[in-house]
Subunit: 407 residues, 2 copies
Amino acid sequence: MTSEFFSVRTVAEARTGFAPARRSAREQCALADALDRVTAAPIPSPHDLPGFARSAVDGYAVRAADTFGASSSLPVPLHVRGEVAMGTAPTVAVEAGEAVAIPTGGALPTGADAIVMVEHTTPSMRDTVDVLGAVAPGEGVVRADEDVVIGAELAPKGESLRPAQLGLLASAGVTSIAVFARPRVAILSTGNEVVPPATAQLELGEVRDATAGALAGLVRRAGGTPELCGIAADDSARVREELRAAMAWADIVVVSAGSSVGTRDLTAVVVESLGAPGICCHGLAIKPGKPTLLAECDGVPIVGLPGNPVSAIVVFSLIGVPLIQLVGGNERPAAPPTATAALARDVPSAAGRLDVVQVRLVDDQAEPLFAKSSALSVLARSDGQIQVPEDASGLYTGAAVTVELHA
Amino acid sequence: MTSEFFSVRTVAEARTGFAPARRSAREQCALADALDRVTAAPIPSPHDLPGFARSAVDGYAVRAADTFGASSSLPVPLHVRGEVAMGTAPTVAVEAGEAVAIPTGGALPTGADAIVMVEHTTPSMRDTVDVLGAVAPGEGVVRADEDVVIGAELAPKGESLRPAQLGLLASAGVTSIAVFARPRVAILSTGNEVVPPATAQLELGEVRDATAGALAGLVRRAGGTPELCGIAADDSARVREELRAAMAWADIVVVSAGSSVGTRDLTAVVVESLGAPGICCHGLAIKPGKPTLLAECDGVPIVGLPGNPVSAIVVFSLIGVPLIQLVGGNERPAAPPTATAALARDVPSAAGRLDVVQVRLVDDQAEPLFAKSSALSVLARSDGQIQVPEDASGLYTGAAVTVELHA
């Protein structure tokens, strides 16, 4: 064991102090598959948008100067030369004293510099329209580069693409995008007592692997691709072999520990034996979840999680999720959704560690769900969790708390 | 046109008033693929959990009565009969005056009814441990049904499964789940001016289809499967044919309209001609997005959206997303994430309609992004949107607003 072995960190220290350089590979992605993918480079617009001067309203394309002085008492009659059809180039130009009917989105005809809304006109004699109010040059017109100028950034680097951005990219004709590959996250379960979820009948002392599937869900939510590596017995040679194998292909390796006395530090022992250049922390000042290990081994971030499923899931939501986002190139991940509520009961806590307490929201109240840390059912039915900071020795009934929602 | 043609509704009326009975089909889903899938029935636990009485701590399994009166000044010596190994049935029982070493999670040996934490013991002579404090019956023990009683609900019907719930289902051995199929959402674009996003060079007057891809993203976010049906010209016979074809297989049909004068009501005309039993609304009191149509046709909900991409996306986020969740059986969809901020500038608004304004969050301030409604770039770079209610004629600088985040 090295001196780092006992380095207990706060969650905030671990989140800022553990910043591996690893980034997932770059790849091209079709626009149709780009939702929630992270851009690997800024995307400049190959075109002006909308690309041509078009009408913002239904009305008549005119020369603005022709309308000066027009009012409902003194309308200006203009000769209607024709109309613009959607999706095609105008076939007529607007000369002095003329107008061309134009729909919203229609291309501005040559000669026109403004649009009079149809509501501000009345039909007059055949082929003539009376303009009831003046328009300024540019009025009612969307300029060719008004939405986006050619070369302007449609999306910055390091951003997870949202539906509206997909729309903008489509309108600019960008249909292939350089993105970070989804980080491949190896999930290795360990523990002599742990058996696959599909095990119909347990032998006394066995438990089904609850952690791996829950972690896989969190990995997907964070933008990664989970790969379950199965269950290894509490044996350092076996765990070492599995870890080595996973490090060959994974961007991040997650090990959920066995929970028995002798095997609890197995991950640390194995990681040490691999000659890890940096164990960032072994021990987080958090409840539940203290026995957490963060290390970097041959450029691969390794997360060692507590054997208890609830502890593993809580720690991974706080530490693993931002790590996946970092490795996946996401520079501005969305903050977890939150709600503000009043605490319905006192929550005792020990100073010096972060306490994560599951709550249920009832009206505007947050009801703490107390239970043994092994109670996965509590985590599954809670609406969210609150954090009691390291410097607090508890929170009192009625306190305003920020609930991180399990969305 | 029927009398319903001009029935303009508020967004709230449309959301409560348009409640089609349609639900997507049921199917079985493997646990590994069940993230964010919606349960089609409550899931009872086939087993007690953890399934056997186990230790909550590292220590010694004892008979509680043997420890009564024990203290650090008057320790009680117990004979250590052996130890419990993880994942296997205990091989020894605890008789009076005896203890068995046990790790956290180990199965409670016959005869024992409590665990003394190792911290409350000192090793004594060979095969003997001194207990330094009394434990009550049940102390340090997780009962066989303490987390979940057999038959109890692991997840209710109509809920989108979260990572922690996947873990709970795994621990109970539930590896196949009855879920609602993802609603199949047909997206039909119309408009003579609309061309596919992959069109490299536009003819004057053409625009690439921005709406379909953005809607597909929103459909995925809502739990549906989008199917793009391509672009139909502004021709009622053609749109009717496409609509009929989509209704044969889709759970929901979405039509984004052309925006030219004559074709703006094409969706309504076509839906009327199909003999729609109920047009819930044609016209929403919202800006942007007024020309929205909601109808039900042969049991298929139909959403007609404005031709303007920004309007279509805003309306679909407010009306289409909850509709997909409804049809997909999701009875408790997560509320969109929100943030509270102070308005950085006045926002004028017309009373009688809901105004949706895009904002950028800078520190705790919401900066309104004003632009022509056609500006997709504004929607793409905004952090969220605020709603100015129907009964307000604007909001003032400094007002506290709830920002729906574009997560």
